[in-house]
């Protein structure tokens, strides 16, 4: 976060502790700065203030001023006299002003929270045992921590629609809804797809889609993430797994160069869902729906279960040896990937440097950007390839140049990482003329024609780093183990590099980073272990003249951020 300017700071007092916060900071955030949690439902740091749940009520006081003279009123000890308001105020809608005092834990505040908690529960179905949200439900947590522990409501509860399909990916249980309007505000303010609203009124208010519309935009599942209760559920994840069994691993969305920060939730080697991870510099608290589906590629039918030589299953070690021999034979072209990690690209560069190659290529992937978190560049790490020196210009979508070199006989062997050469414009006839070494996790038309196939890992089975559209390097961690017959792509590449150069090549992430972060490189001073979860901006000024395709998105503006060098 940017360094806060000193003259913009005001001092507020929270439960007797003075704290300096930027002017305008609301009392929920200010309290968090001194380690006080002000419970809330409707407030979300990235959405407008609604102030409707009333859970964040706090006592509010301001330094008194004499009505007649306008002079500050003082206590006997000379301290400012605080005039406490008779009723509580909402923390989310109360912005820091000089001298403001709040109490987050007084008897009045506790009683107000108990009241709100009771009210939220009177028409709530209390079906936690069958609710997906159980275990990560704000209502459940706050009922335990701020409720009275018993109910006084003996009337019939309201009945509302259950299992409503809001869209292709979101299912709604209206009885669980506490009407906080987070989902409505998200749809209006972030997704720019105003389709949700309340019908009816009072306690019968019901969340629904506008007639003839559905919640189908590519950000619809964020409403599930921000729903503080179990009203909005992911149709994919519903009833699959209890959340407390899930292990969460920090990851990155591989869809585009936006590099959304994510959390991969898995249990016993199986992934159940992907959700966004907050990074205010990259994706705030959001991610596209499409990125949440990527885990399905782990167990997809086209997954390579073992390495192959001429279509025959071999051990990964044998495949690596065979690949090294082929690449040692000369007339080699290398096809890197914008979907590979910085480490893999660096190792591939090492291979390129170790042989007399006939060209290094990358396959570009472009699509339409949505101005939010889907950027035009569908490769997550083209900038990594630039920074590692694997390429020095923006890639083409078609490998036309490589095709000509194959046709002319200049290239006899092609090493491709993750890329389907046929999809990239080469013909089967061209592939028949060369020996192809393929390293990747999934089968495709190229693997069918390849001499050597080395079964690699998906992004969920390994760790690594990517450089996003802002030239921000971000790391992701291994969430689950890979299949038995697969080998870490980085280990395969490093071993090949060692075989070709005759020198020992670093094979683990930690050791390869010692080389990546060599003196004079833009990565200097970095290491995988020390890279924070927020990532770090790198100097991309060397490439400022390149015609990157990305337009404006949530946290990127080509007009102002073409050269992102400093925070």
């Amino acid at each position: 976060m940017a360094e806060e300017k000193k003259d913009n700071l005001v001092t507020v007092n929270i439960d007797g502790v003075d704290v300096q916060v930027p002017k305008g900071t609301n009392m929920i955030e200010a309290a968090a700065k001194v380690g006080k949690e002000v419970p809330h439902y409707c407030y979300h740091p990235k959405l407008s203030i609604a102030g409707n749940c009333r859970m964040c009520l706090v006592e509010l006081g301001m330094p008194g001023r004499d009505r007649a003279t306008g002079e500050p009123m003082l206590n006997e000890d000379g301290s400012p006299k605080i005039m406490w308001m008779p009723g509580p105020a909402i923390g989310c809608g109360t912005n820091a002003a000089p001298g403001m005092h709040i109490k987050t834990n007084s008897e009045k505040v506790k009683e107000a929270r108990e009241g709100v908690t009771e009210f939220l529960l009177v028409n709530h179905p209390l079906d936690c045992p069958i609710c997906d949200q159980a275990g990560e439900c704000r209502l459940q947590e706050f009922s335990a921590s701020h409720g009275r522990g018993q109910g006084r409501f003996t009337e019939e509860k309201n009945v509302k629609p259950k299992r409503t399909r809001l869209g292709p990916r979101v299912t709604l249980d209206d009885e669980r809804c506490i009407l906080c309007s987070r989902c409505i505000r998200f749809s209006q303010e972030i997704a720019n797809d105003d389709v949700l609203g309340f019908t009816d009124r009072g306690s019968y208010s019901t969340l629904t889609c506008f007639p003839g519309k559905e919640l189908a935009n590519n950000y619809s599942l964020n409403t599930v993430d921000i729903c503080p209760v179990g009203a909005l559920t992911s149709t994919d994840f519903r009833f699959k797994m209890r959340v407390w069994f899930l292990k969460e691993t920090n990851s990155i969305d591989f869809e585009t160069s936006a590099g959304c920060n994510t959390k991969v939730s898995s249990r016993e080697g199986k992934i159940y869902r992907i959700t966004p991870r907050r990074n205010d510099a990259v994706n705030d608290t959001w991610m596209p729906d499409s990125g949440r589906e990527l885990y399905k590629k782990v167990e997809s039918e086209d997954r390579l279960q073992s390495s192959l030589i001429d279509g025959t299953e071999v051990s990964a070690q044998n495949a690596v040896v065979a690949a090294s021999e082929l690449l040692n034979g000369g007339n080699v072209a290398i096809v890197g990937s914008g979907k590979a990690t910085v480490e893999e690209q660096f190792a591939l560069k090492g291979i390129a440097d170790a042989i007399d190659h006939k060209g290094v290529y990358l396959v570009a992937r472009y699509g339409e950007g949505d101005g939010i978190l889907i950027t035009e560049d569908r490769n997550p790490n083209v900038r990594g390839a630039l920074l590692t020196g694997l390429i020095d210009a923006l890639p083409e979508e078609q490998l036309t140049d490589l095709g000509q070199k194959i046709d002319s006989g200049e290239v006899k062997t092609v090493l491709t990482t993750k890329e389907d050469l046929i999809a990239a414009g080469l013909t089967e006839a061209q592939l028949s003329k060369v020996s192809v070494v393929y390293i990747g996790a999934h089968a495709n038309p190229t693997t069918a024609k390849a001499k050597v196939v080395i079964a690699g890992l998906t992004q969920f089975e390994k760790s690594g780093t990517l450089v996003n559209v802002q030239f921000r390097i971000q790391k992701f961690n291994k969430a689950i183990p890979g299949p038995k017959g697969a080998i870490d792509d980085l280990l395969a590449l490093s071993t090949i590099q060692a075989n070709l150069s005759g020198e020992e090549a670093p094979s683990s992430i930690g050791s390869i980073w010692k080389s990546i972060a060599a003196e004079g490189s833009v990565f200097e001073g970095l290491s995988f272990a020390s890279l924070s979860d927020e990532g770090q901006l790198l100097d991309g000024s060397k490439f400022s003249e390149l015609p990157f395709k990305e337009g404006k998105s949530l946290k990127y503006d080509p007009q102002t951020e073409a050269v992102a060098t400093t925070e």
Partner: protein, 455 residues
């Protein structure tokens, strides 16, 4: 219809005169729009000062000084300033604005044009309750007439000042009468009241521009202040309670209706003007200012200290019929909708009726009001259906306490105050329900008759 000698009619001066019509000719014959013409010889800020000096307080419910409200308007923002007339008269028991609109619409238009000129507004709205379609038609016609004669629209009275006036029909909900709910509704949205801060209408009102929202009667009073002068206006009534007020009396009196009065007592209104209770009945309690206000019990003594230190000790009938008088008695004059409850009325049944109304009208935005109002309705309805349970009365009090003061808008008070005050004043009656009706041997026949309307 004869005007009672204790009435003091200013706003309704001609409304009930035989032959007086809502047409502009009628209005002009009675000196209409002369005040507007004269207003243009004054500077807008002088008019604002005059209104401030008159101590005119808002007639809509809260009784906020109109001049102060005008002085809070952000005039430096560079944004347009809007004037909105709140004609969403929907507080149960209130029917005064309807009289003005139906019988003397030009008076409202004149008051609005003076107020609009005083506040540099180029656009003004009348937000009229959906359930008053006739009133909307009358206003539409009146505006056309006024525009035809140059009292509204472009270049008003040749002054080069222009202000368009638009009638907007409301969205048929009680909450549309709440100042910020009205603004949301006027913008075409659900009438969910806004949080304050930051959305004070004087700064961030209609379309996020400075906005003045005044009641119909208040805007008419502006005309009379400019006509008679602030000092003369302030002579009616007492300081801080200046001018006349139109009271709407309903319930157990011989002559219910609307009465415009100066400074009189509650007893003078109810007994003298309205003729007192129906034969053979006695007054049990009075809800002074619309159904959301706290109830006043007939046999109670209302004691306290005046700001000057002197003490007062009033019976119900002695309470001065103005803002401060009723406030001193522990309630509010609100919208002027006075409901008289005689000895035939069951207080718990009356409360059940009110809770049915308020739970139906809660916008549902914020938790305490949304859930609390329906809960209270469920308890009170059950009670008057002969199914009270032990602990109901204490529970109702507690639920009301959990609503009051914790909501986005004053609707929370409108739900809580009746419960709190009815139980405080008539606890015996509630306890009797609770005890007898939670006893399985009780005969519930009479109770069920009472409850016929509380499904």
């Amino acid at each position: 219809m004869a005007i009672h000698p204790k009435e003091h009619r200013i706003v309704l001066k001609y409304a009930d005169e035989p032959g007086y019509t809502p047409k502009i000719e009628s209005y002009l014959e009675h000196g209409g729009y002369d005040t507007l013409k004269a207003a243009f010889s004054k500077k807008p800020e002088d008019i604002r000062d005059e209104v401030k000096k008159s101590q005119l307080r808002g007639r809509g419910g809260a009784g906020f000084p109109a001049g102060v409200k005008w002085s809070l308007v952000d005039r430096k923002s560079g944004k347009p300033i809007y004037l909105v007339c709140n004609a969403d008269e929907s507080e149960p028991g209130t029917f005064k604005d309807r009289q003005i609109i139906h019988k003397d619409p030009h008076q409202l238009i004149e008051g609005m044009m003076i107020s609009a000129y005083a506040n540099d507004c180029a656009k003004a709205f009348i937000y009229i309750r959906e359930e008053m379609p006739h009133g909307a038609r009358i206003l539409d016609e009146a505006i056309l007439e006024a525009k035809g004669k140059g009292f509204c629209g472009d270049n008003i009275c040749g002054s080069e000042y222009s202000c368009d006036l638009v009638v907007h029909r409301g969205a048929a909900a009680y909450i549309c009468g709440e100042e910020t709910g009205l603004i949301e509704s006027l913008e075409g949205k659900r009438a969910n009241p806004r949080i304050k801060p930051p959305y004070f209408p004087a700064v961030l009102g209609l379309y996020q521009c400075p906005t003045i929202v005044n009641n119909v009667e208040t805007l008419c009073d502006v005309k009379h202040i400019m006509e008679m002068g602030a000092d003369e206006f302030a002579k009616i009534g007492r300081p801080n309670n200046t001018g006349t007020r139109i009271w709407c009396v309903s319930g157990g009196v011989q002559r219910p209706g609307y009465y415009e009065v100066g400074q009189i007592t509650l007893g003078e209104l109810v007994n003298d003007i309205c003729g007192g209770p129906l034969p053979g009945r006695s007054i049990k309690a009075i809800i002074p200012g619309g159904s959301s206000m706290k109830i006043l019990k007939a046999e109670d003594r209302y004691k306290g200290k005046n700001p000057d230190g002197s003490e007062y000790d009033w019976g119900l009938e002695d309470i001065p019929l103005d803002y401060d008088g009723i406030a001193a008695a522990g309630s509010m004059s609100g919208s002027g909708g006075m409901m008289v409850l005689d000895d035939t009325v069951s207080i718990p049944a009356a409360l059940a009726n009110l809770m049915a109304f308020y739970s139906h009208e809660s916008c549902g935005q914020c938790t305490p009001c949304r859930e609390g109002s329906l809960w209270l309705k469920k308890i009170t309805t059950r009670m008057v259906h002969g199914e009270a349970r032990p602990g109901d009365v204490d529970l109702m009090k507690s639920v009301a306490d959990q609503i009051a003061g914790r909501t986005i808008c004053a609707f929370g008070f409108a739900v809580a105050w009746p419960v709190q005050s009815y139980i405080a004043k008539f606890e015996d009656e509630f306890r009797e329900y609770e005890e007898s009706l939670s006893n399985p041997d009780t005969d519930r026949t009479s109770i069920k008759e009472l409850a016929c309307n509380h499904g």
